[in-house]
């Protein structure tokens, strides 16, 4: 066991709350997980859920189509509030994505065994979240069909993107993040795809999984290189994930808008991202383990640990809020000071207080052991944090723009039906993709679970 273990991963505790249910062998693990995909019949619930999610996603496509016909004017944005829901959602989704990479990469480096059972769908979640996030920077432009201007390609105009703009940094950060996450995820999948190939009985499945598994046969030589590649990817993904939300925070920190222009953004955006990410992992994991009775693999210990991570990142975020507040006042910059007052008793004050409630006050309940071990409560808490983190982005993006330098230009923002349709639509898309994922791919890394079985069996000796 490596040295980088937090205390809560000490052997005693592990024996008390195992990361894997007792009595599992390589075979049983394999059976159980692959069964979800191969043998287990698709439940009615899956169909219903999928249909609902899919229709919500349909609403999104309609909303986007309408947007393309009419223009961004169908949203609530205006001058001075040029960015509304679109950017709020973008930042929110990107943030959610971070937990996946964090779990699979950083915890892997820290050699946290308990990550194994959740990393697979956490990574999937990352991909889907990034997909949802990626939609917004595209459609929020006035002329989406010209968005390719933002990519470096040899145009007949001899022009190139303007690399001083944080939006261009975004383009590179997000696309890199998407690509790397995808590869990370796929590389992790290869051995499991092989398993599915070998265990599926129907020919077409065999062929499909066979192709996807690239003919993996578990050779020791392959495992040898595989492990180093995986380790390297993890090593690369770690700084990447930190950089991505840093860059996202630059969208605001680089601008001169009061409430945006602050150096504290990068760290606390990252913390916030992890915060919301873990909340979302919980939101997904809890129903998942129930639906496919994976309680043996996603044990209370996992939930407990994730709750603890949420608690700690939540505290970092709280610290961030405090210092943002403090620095504005301390700086004596009249615009910043005014903005802080606006947050407290401007037209949007309720949002700010709701944010404080959701992101700082309520999560303190997680100090209690009982809370952390009450699945239902934990689920609710994760929802609350998700909402809270969305509010945070709303407060940052909107309130700052409503009250900037020239009072004559002050305005207000309120979302239209289409703002909501697009936002909720992306949630539909996210869930749709998750449904598909659990249906056709192993939601838990089988190979790593076997490893886990091996180690746990050693320990028991």
């Amino acid at each position: 066991m490596s040295a980088g273990q937090p205390p809560f991963d000490s052997p005693e505790i592990r024996r008390l709350t195992p990361v894997i249910g007792p009595g599992h062998t390589y075979g049983s693990v394999t059976d159980k997980i692959s069964a979800i995909v191969l043998t287990r019949p698709t439940s009615l619930g899956w169909y219903v859920g999928f249909l609902i999610a899919f229709s919500i996603m349909g609403m999104m496509t309609v909303a986007i189509g309408w947007l393309i016909i009419k223009g961004t004017g169908i949203w609530g944005i205006n001058i001075p509030i040029g960015w509304g829901f679109a950017i709020v959602n973008f930042v929110w989704w990107i943030g959610i994505g971070h937990a996946g990479t964090l779990i699979s990469a950083i915890l892997f480096l820290l050699n946290q065994k308990w990550r194994t059972s959740i990393n697979r769908f956490a990574e999937a979640m990352t991909l889907f979240a990034v997909a949802c996030a990626g939609i917004f920077p595209l459609i929020h432009t006035g002329r989406p069909w010209l968005a390719f201007y933002m990519f470096p390609y040899p145009s007949t105009m001899g022009l190139w993107p303007q690399f001083r703009s944080p939006l261009i940094w975004d383009v590179f950060a997000v696309s890199t993040y998407g690509t790397v996450s995808l590869m990370f995820w796929f590389v992790g999948l290869i051995p499991d795809l092989a398993t599915l190939r070998d265990r599926s009985v129907r020919k077409p499945l065999k062929i499909i999984y066979g192709m996807l598994s690239l003919g993996w046969r578990g050779s020791a030589r392959h495992w040898h290189r595989y492990q180093s590649a995986y380790l390297l990817l993890a090593g690369l993904a770690t700084p990447l994930v930190l950089s991505v939300h840093t860059v996202v925070s630059f969208d605001f920190a680089i601008a001169i808008v009061p409430g945006w222009h602050t150096t504290i953004f990068p760290p606390y955006f990252v913390a916030g991202a992890i915060y919301s990410g873990f909340a979302m992992v919980l939101t997904i994991a809890i129903p998942l383990r129930k639906a496919y009775d994976l309680e043996d693999f996603i044990t209370m210990r996992h939930l407990d640990n994730m709750a603890k991570v949420m608690l700690s990142t939540g505290l970092i975020v709280a610290y961030g809020y405090f210092f943002e507040f403090f620095l504005s006042l301390y700086s004596g910059n009249k615009f910043d000071v005014f903005l802080v007052q606006q947050r407290l008793h401007g037209p949007y004050a309720p949002f700010y207080f709701a944010l404080i409630l959701c992101n700082i006050l309520l999560p303190q309940l997680l100090w209690s052991y009982k809370m952390r071990h009450n699945v239902a409560a934990l689920f609710l808490m994760s929802i609350v944090v998700n909402i809270g983190m969305w509010l945070e982005r709303f407060v940052i993006v909107v309130i700052s723009l409503t009250r900037d330098f020239v009072p004559s230009a002050w305005g207000r923002y309120s979302p239209t039906f289409w703002d909501w349709a697009t936002f909720i639509g992306t949630i539909g898309m996210f869930v749709t993709l998750l449904f598909l994922f659990v249906r056709v791919l192993p939601a838990i890394s089988i190979a790593e679970m076997r490893e886990l079985v091996a180690e746990t069996s050693e320990e028991e000796k």
């Binding site: 390589y26 001083r164 890199t176 070998d198 690239l214 046969r217 392959h222």
Partner: protein, 170 residues
């Protein structure tokens, strides 16, 4: 080819077989086993080196490209900032470094492993499907200079292989 039930048996077997003087052999397992590589005497692989190269290419290329675009091909006065506002070019450079490195790592690994490789003799063995779930295999290749069918079979029996099968290559 011999089949085993646990990683430990496999490790034992591999050691024995190598003591038996066989070099061209491979082991198969449903998950990476500590020590197996050493037992097989694999030397350290090239993946890290490739990754490093990919990273360097992405980073250096990325910065040079930005400099060229901003300062050389179409120099424009943006917000009174100098043409080479290098601090503003760092984020993209960084991202491209990561991208280059990751691509190199993955494709490097696949290439070195000769993947994709859907057809392989070992798949002829019926029980080999278990290699991806709960069984462990050793395969001594006929290309090995001192390969001899009976000898190998005997050797594998000595190391208590559960099943021993001959892998035909067609």
């Amino acid at each position: 080819m011999g089949e085993f039930g646990t990683p430990e048996e496999l490790l034992q077997a591999v050691k024995k077989v190598r003591e038996g003087g066989y070099r061209r052999l491979d082991a198969y397992a449903p998950f990476p086993i500590e020590g197996l590589s050493e037992a097989l005497g694999l030397k350290r692989n090239l993946v890290p080196a490739i990754t490093l190269l990919g990273g360097l290419a992405g980073g250096i290329g990325g910065f040079c490209f930005q400099y060229w675009a901003a300062a050389i091909t179409y120099p424009l006065n943006i917000a009174g900032r100098p043409l080479n506002s290098w601090p503003a070019f760092i984020p993209v450079t960084f991202e491209l470094t990561i991208l280059g490195a990751s691509l190199a790592a993955v494709f490097g690994m696949l290439a070195l492993n000769r993947l994709p490789h859907p057809h392989h003799p070992v798949f002829n063995v019926g029980r080999f499907t278990h290699a991806s779930s709960d069984r462990f295999f050793i395969c001594i290749e006929a290309k090995d200079p001192n390969f001899h069918l009976e000898k190998c079979a005997r050797l594998l029996q000595e190391v208590h292989a559960h099943h021993i099968t001959e892998v035909s290559d067609d």
